[in-house]
């Protein structure tokens, strides 16, 4: 087996493998490569906000009708509030919450690991509520305005969960 490989040199410094051609033994490569179209294989850093916004948009397109008997789907405002909340989070420090929809129309954010947990949700009424715990600390927030800054106590636990 003969291998021909090439590299794509990024102008900002990183080197990404661009192509690898595997050729069976006994077959010779007679052609000449003049131009190569290099696809963008993978981004070097994760765009957390984009991933979460995509998740919210996916859920919005999925929950057109409820998944449970006697359930309701979230309002458009609940999804909008969730999107604006994502843009306020320092996601490189807090890490990625999981986002899901409950049968009562809540768009729910959850950070959870062994000893830290945050449960936060939007119903589209202009406010949100949360509960968080970390070792020796417990926080509860009720009716926090969606257009206000993210509370420091909440951020503190989110960062320790992230």
């Amino acid at each position: 087996m003969k291998t021909i490989s090439g590299q794509y040199v990024d102008p900002f410094g990183s080197i990404i493998p661009a192509f690898v051609v595997y050729m069976p033994a006994g077959v010779s490569f007679a052609g000449e490569i003049t131009t190569i179209t290099v696809p963008v294989v993978a981004s070097q850093t994760r765009d957390y906000a984009k991933e979460l916004l995509n998740r919210v948009r996916y859920l919005q397109s999925t929950y057109v009708t409820p998944y449970e008997p006697a359930g309701t789907v979230p309002s458009a405002q609940a999804f909008k509030d969730a999107e604006s909340f994502i843009l306020k989070l320092p996601l490189t420090r807090t890490g990625m919450p999981s986002i899901n929809v409950a049968s009562d129309g809540e768009v729910n954010f959850c950070w959870s690991n062994d000893d830290t947990h945050i449960d936060l949700g939007f119903f589209g009424n202009g406010t949100y509520s949360y509960y968080g715990r970390s070792p020796g600390k417990e926080i509860i927030g009720e009716k926090v305005e969606t257009n206000s800054e993210v509370p420091d106590d909440l951020l503190g636990i989110a960062i320790s969960a992230g």
Partner: protein, 195 residues
Amino acid sequence: MATKESHRDEKSSASRWFSPDLVRDEEIVLRTIFDPHHVESGTLSIAAVSLSDLRSRGWSVDRKKYTSLWKLKLNQLRWHHRKPDLHRCYVIPINVGTLRDYKTDNNQIFSIIDLAFCLNPAHAAILLSVKGGDGAARKARDTLMAGLPAYIDVSKAFSNEDRWGWSRGMFLQVIAILRALFLCFFYRAKLKLTS
């Protein structure tokens, strides 16, 4: 507008006409998972328990002793027509006694009440023993989630001995309806006699 207060008393039935009996500590109740997104990561999402259910509507469960495998599968099949992406039927088997043992400041956190419907004698509900705000309900949801066992395929929740569950429940429901009718006529006759 005044809203109807939720029934939270475990010592009386929320559905006297249709209830086979009150929910006992040694019972197992089964929660069916309808939304596949709630188990997509392999673990149960907290969104599987809605706050409104916990606070007031009641988180619906089926009493295992009064339901059967075919009944739960039939429910799922009916719903499958509306949501074709429901491929599997999972349930969470919950021990009533364990759930009733959860306490905060020596007060029971969850009530499990019987809420039987006509032709569904197994229906019961889990809700907060004391009315509270969203934040308190989220805290209770965290407690509930931490104590819930793993979800399993519905066929693994039943053994061969459980096959008459629904029939047993229906038999007791018919008795409950007859008893209620008898009491109705009895008190009516008594009123007529005294007036």
